[in-house]
Symmetry: none
Subunit: 222 residues, 2 copies
DNA sequence: GCGGATCGTGGAGACATCGTGGAGAAGCGG
DNA sequence: CCGCTTCTCCACGATGTCTCCACGATCCGC
């Protein structure tokens, strides 16, 4: 039985294009052009995933997403016009599962959808392959090797590893790094990422565990 | 026989959602919406785990957790509104076993519950090789040699040995050292660690039993 | 492509934490 | 009250860590 994707997009051509590709990938699709209709539709006929344009007539995609989250845990992939907007999204902490920014290739969208659904199906007890975070002991083990991390590096890795694949803005990461909410340049995060990366690649030079998302932040590769 | 989870959550929809997922994962569930009712309920019918919302009408989740701890060792998973609060909670050392922050996916909650229960089942009977703590006699034996410890040193070693590998902050250790919660500088802990280390290395000069975790605290090597 | 923004990196100085010896206070038994 | 042990704190140096800067590389939107 195939999965249903609800496409919320006000531009008909784009909606049709996405629907085509998604159907070709084996999904069932439904389309909505109006933000107001999303919540009722999801209630009445819950899809397996919602592909949500940020710019909608009448109703902002952000509101829609928030409303969905009040009653549903359905995975949401946001579609935004520009990279810069992702920043704003992250700050608002709205609970989307992934983001795609225009201009995108339909194949890219399909790939994201597939990835999010895979993540949603599999129990999230997974974590990152080869990475063990020993919270009590303030230790991290990567491919069997104990990492010699500073406190900040440990907290950074722990924060990222708590939600593999999820992008964290620098500000979000700073919140995790400092319980006392001290004021620090967000470029400081870059420095710690640099040092952390160095220690990680001592263990596995071939793998890029921490990925930068341009204009957004960092995430841990799943 | 399945395990019972007590859900304490004042929002009915959320409680129902969590109950659904937990039942789907094979647990029995019970729900309470009121913080005041928790302790009596746990006394009357002890669950295997309590899922506790931090924000409760009438009674703070923190108080509830503290009250539970006065008479029960039941595992507690706290649910908090925001990421930032988790750090605060961690500092407060209130005795919860894990934390989940909103917005969370029910799947994530199930994963945490599973992890905490797994941890709770596994007997914590591990110890430190060569180290015996004679609780009644206020004595410690290390590699066959009786250690001549002062009372504070003994309590320090006992606290660390209760959870080998786990890092204790200086404040946490001070709580263990003084039942009367007197006010003492953190650095005092350092002094006692210094003296304790000296006595330990008289027995085994080659081994570094007490390890400092920079910026965090001390732990006993496993 | 071009300009502007963002990011990776090395390194230096500021900063925090830790180990230590020892001084004085506090307990405690005689 | 005395002598002893123990505790707490202080001060200093040693060590470890953080933060930021500056430069070049990279990426993005036009």
């Amino acid at each position: 039985m195939s999965e249903r994707i609800l496409i919320v997009e006000d531009e008909p051509k784009l909606a049709a294009l996405l629907a085509d590709y998604l159907r070709a990938a084996g999904y069932e699709t439904a389309c909505l052009a109006d933000g107001l209709a999303v919540a009722p539709s999801v209630r009445a006929h819950p899809p397996d995933l919602v592909l949500l344009d940020l710019m909608l007539p009448g109703r902002d995609g952000l509101d829609v997403c928030r409303e969905l989250r009040t009653f549903s845990q359905v995975p949401v992939v946001m579609v935004t016009a520009r990279v810069e907007e992702i920043d704003r999204l992250l700050g608002l902490e709205l609970g989307a599962d992934d983001y795609v920014c225009k201009p995108f290739s339909p194949r890219e969208v399909v790939a994201r959808v597939r990835a999010v659904l895979r993540r949603a199906h599999r129990p999230p007890a997974d974590g990152v392959p080869g990475l063990v975070i020993d919270d009590d002991g303030y230790r991290a083990i990567y491919d069997g090797h104990a990492l010699d991390l500073t406190p900040v590096e440990f907290r950074l890795l722990r924060a990222l590893a708590a939600h593999p694949g999820r992008v964290f803005s620098r500000d979000q990461l700073l919140d995790h790094l400092y319980p006392d909410h001290r004021v620090v340049t967000d470029r400081t995060v870059d420095s710690h990422v640099k040092n952390l990366r160095r220690k990680l690649e001592q263990v596995r030079p071939d793998r890029e565990l921490i990925r930068s998302i341009y204009g957004v932040g960092y995430k841990l590769e799943e």
